[in-house]
Symmetry: C2
Subunit: 195 residues, 2 copies
């Protein structure tokens, strides 16, 4: 029988994360109230505080989970081979991973300024780890003279910025398939860093 009260600890926790992710991405962290999140989950606002100490921690955990999933997934999938193959692999991975979770990506990007300084520093450290991955590929390729970039750090930031742009316009079912998008961006990245 349906009940409107009772214990749901197993499902309420994840549902809070999911609801907050969606609402923060849609309206922004500061514009979303705890009441809205609770309504989306189907509980009263007070019940949220059984799962999170406060709103700030909720935001931080969303961003931390996202960044750690990014790093873990990348670590497991990262290919070997020559620098060009590794770069191609990175481009493909980055586009695909980010297109699969647009809400989390959007939040991890747009809500940095709503983190406390301590939380901000922790997220930035994770982001730095990810960027170093690409930077190493570009440095190895430059050393092997298969790439020629005027500045390894700027090339890293430039490539990531270009790839991040995909999330702002791509919609599945649009003019281009995911494979086509990957091919187009790989073509531009490859040429941009080519010797």
């Amino acid at each position: 029988m349906a009940r409107t009260q009772g214990s749901h600890s197993d499902i309420t926790g994840p549902r809070i994360q999911t609801a907050a992710l969606k609402l923060f991405a849609q309206h922004g962290y500061a514009a979303v109230s705890m009441r809205q999140i609770a309504a989306q989950v189907g509980v009263q606002a007070g019940a949220l505080y059984n799962y999170i100490p406060d709103k700030q921690t909720l935001l931080f955990r969303l961003m931390q989970d996202h960044m750690e999933t990014l790093l873990d997934t990348r670590r497991r999938q990262a290919g070997q081979g020559d620098p060009e193959a590794r770069l191609r692999d990175f481009v493909r991975f980055h586009i695909r991973f980010h297109l699969e979770r647009p809400d989390a990506v959007f939040i991890a990007y747009m809500e940095l300024r709503n983190l406390t300084p301590e939380n901000f520093a922790r997220i930035e450290e994770l982001r730095g780890n990810y960027e170093r991955d690409l930077e190493n590929i570009l440095r190895d390729g430059s050393a092997a003279e298969v790439f020629s970039v005027p500045d390894t750090k700027l090339a890293t930031l430039g490539v990531i910025a270009m790839l991040n742009g995909v999330n702002t316009w791509y919609r599945s079912g649009g003019r281009l398939s995911l494979d086509e998008v990957e091919a187009v961006y790989w073509s531009m990245v490859r040429k941009a860093v080519a010797a």
Copy 2:
């Protein structure tokens, strides 16, 4: 003599815009109160409403002013010549213009979702005008076979995304001068679209 009351219509209007620009960029539109803006200006909150009908209109005007300044400045400075010269000119202009006003750029990018649908559509139209400028350069260059891009529209978005990234890390007095940054990005863009 100093006075704490009286008429200041000539200066209060611009000061509201300046204060709002700074505060919105720093904390986000939704997180900034009208009282904060008023305090920065040096008036009481009620006085703001002699200049703006509401907070939403204040945000919209900031973004509209920014986009129209972008389009006007570009129109006056746009160079002629072959597609490669025009592309180089665009890259240089884009980086320089955007680095000169980081707060306005940040807001025009991050606060789109806080606009009403009508205001959003008007800003997006202005942004489309700017993107078409670059798109025409890439199309002309492809037709002349000095460029080779797999998809003109995606190349446009890719280049702009890459260039926008500069604003996230550049600080004057840092490792690279503005001229060096322009040279590095021009090198990457040129190669990315080269035939």
